[in-house]
């Protein structure tokens, strides 16, 4: 399908849900990452986290842009004018920033899961999404290499570094698989070929991809999602605080250009 005009109403509604999920995941994680600007443990990582955050928020802008083409809404309005309860990011990115090990553990879990999801979406029947995903995947390759390097470094560290990594994985493990929380409209996405594989299949592929790494590093593999049905709702107090931060300028002056 070359564009919005080729979609059935049911497929369009399902695609809107998918785009919101993709955008919100990147948007919220990007804002958490941006909190490291100025306070990261190394200057190099300060630059890296700022760059990662800029990438993710840029990806979110592009997904909101595709959503805007379908709904006629301004991408900025979608991003900044919604109540916190209307966000559809997964529980994995709902946690507060945490310490450095927590940030790297989450980035590893998210980047590997997102890579699995994007590999499937690169073959989406909705061409504007497949084209965007092809570009995003090339950039995410560098994110994955960064997170992979840090997971190995922390796992190999003796004492505090490894302990903090294990604590982070214990806290995040039950929420890692919420990246694959099935959509209400997933049947419509599959039928239209917009999502080429069901979420359960994507989750299986993700586990297959990370299992050897976790085994090699002696780390506990994340379990099944604690509450999969609510993996993208019931947001945390931490997210509500973040929402207050990232909407502050917009709420002060909705017409401001910045």
């Amino acid at each position: 399908m070359s564009g919005p005009a080729a979609l059935s109403p049911r497929a369009q509604a399902a695609l809107e849900e998918l785009l919101l999920v993709l955008a919100d995941d990147e948007f919220v994680l990007g804002y958490w990452d941006s909190e490291w600007t100025g306070i990261a443990p190394l200057l190099e990582e300060d630059v890296a986290m700022s760059s990662l955050a800029q990438d993710e928020i840029g990806h979110a802008r592009a997904y909101y842009g595709l959503l805007g083409e379908l709904t006629g809404r301004d991408p900025d309005a979608i991003a900044y004018d919604r109540d916190p309860d209307a966000f559809r990011h997964c529980r994995l990115v709902d946690h507060a920033r945490g310490d450095w090990a927590f940030t790297m553990a989450r980035r590893y879990l998210y980047d590997t899961a997102d890579a699995t999801r994007l590999a499937a979406l690169a073959a989406s029947s909705y061409r504007p999404l497949a084209e965007l995903v092809a570009k995003v995947r090339r950039e995410e390759t560098y994110h994955l290499a960064h997170a992979d390097g840090w997971l190995r470094r922390l796992a190999a560290a003796e004492g505090e570094g490894r302990e903090r990594l294990l604590a982070a994985l214990a806290a995040l493990g039950p929420d890692a698989a919420t990246v694959f929380t099935p959509f209400g409209s997933e049947g419509d996405l599959l039928k239209a070929g917009i999502l080429p594989f069901p979420s359960v299949e994507l989750e299986r592929r993700w586990r297959d991809a990370i299992r050897p790494v976790f085994a090699q590093l002696g780390l506990p593999l994340p379990g099944a999602a604690a509450d999969p049905a609510r993996g993208r709702t019931d947001h945390s107090v931490a997210f509500r605080w973040l929402w207050g931060e990232f909407t502050a300028v917009r709420r002060l002056d909705p017409a401001a250009a910045w």
Binding site: A48, E131, K135, R138, A145
Partner: protein, 206 residues
């Protein structure tokens, strides 16, 4: 700078775009960076043509030639990085240059992901301009690492990686090492040269 009065050609537009520099690297044009994907020109019929009166006596006398409708110029640009903050600056720079080139033309400047921008699109002139600006251009990939297959489609992402060492743009030494895969702009990484003891930025292969 050329200003064209009559019908405008794609070649004239490409030449004008070659005068539009990258917002951060003035020595390199957006054409040499491979950002311009396509240029199309459509000649819109003038109202007289549309009304079938172009050849009417009086048409020429009123100074209106048969093909005197406005040009519709469409330029497709490829974002180097999806989140690049310079995209709108580039769009405006292209629009301004084309409106100067062809006053009255309808100019549409669009970003597209129809094909992913890749560092392979940077021309030899562009690579030279990067070097002269103090940036290491992306390393040319060996035959086994060509990021595009025979039909020009991007190959496996596993081939995208940063070289452990790049040629220093200041002194030409290979005694350099990767300091940070991330730099002051999304498209760049930071290296350090052991020979001249200078840090430098290199373009990431994407």
């Amino acid at each position: 700078m050329t200003v064209v009065a009559g019908p405008i050609t794609p070649a004239e537009i490409w030449a004008a775009l070659a005068e539009v520099p990258d917002p951060e690297i003035p020595l390199v044009s957006i054409v040499d960076l491979g950002i311009v994907r396509a240029v199309t020109v459509t000649r819109l019929p003038s109202p007289e043509v549309a009304d079938g009166r172009a050849d009417a006596p009086g048409g020429i006398a009123r100074g209106i030639e048969a093909s005197d409708g406005p040009d519709r110029v469409r330029v497709e640009l490829l974002p180097t990085f999806v989140g690049c903050p310079a995209l709108e600056v580039m769009r405006e720079a292209v629009r301004e240059r084309l409106e100067l080139l062809a006053p009255g033309a309808e100019v549409a400047v669009e970003f597209t992901f129809a094909e992913p921008w890749s560092t392979e699109r940077i021309t030899p002139t562009g690579r030279d301009g990067l070097r002269r600006s103090g940036f290491a251009p992306p390393e040319t990939q060996g035959p086994g690492q060509d990021p595009r297959d025979a039909s020009g489609r991007p190959r496996d992402l596993a081939l995208l990686q940063l070289a452990p060492a790049m040629t220093c743009p200041h002194c030409g030494s290979r005694r350099t090492r990767l300091e940070n895969a991330f730099g002051p702009a999304l498209c760049r990484a930071i290296y350090h040269c052991a020979a001249c003891r200078q840090p430098f930025e290199a373009f990431k292969a994407v």
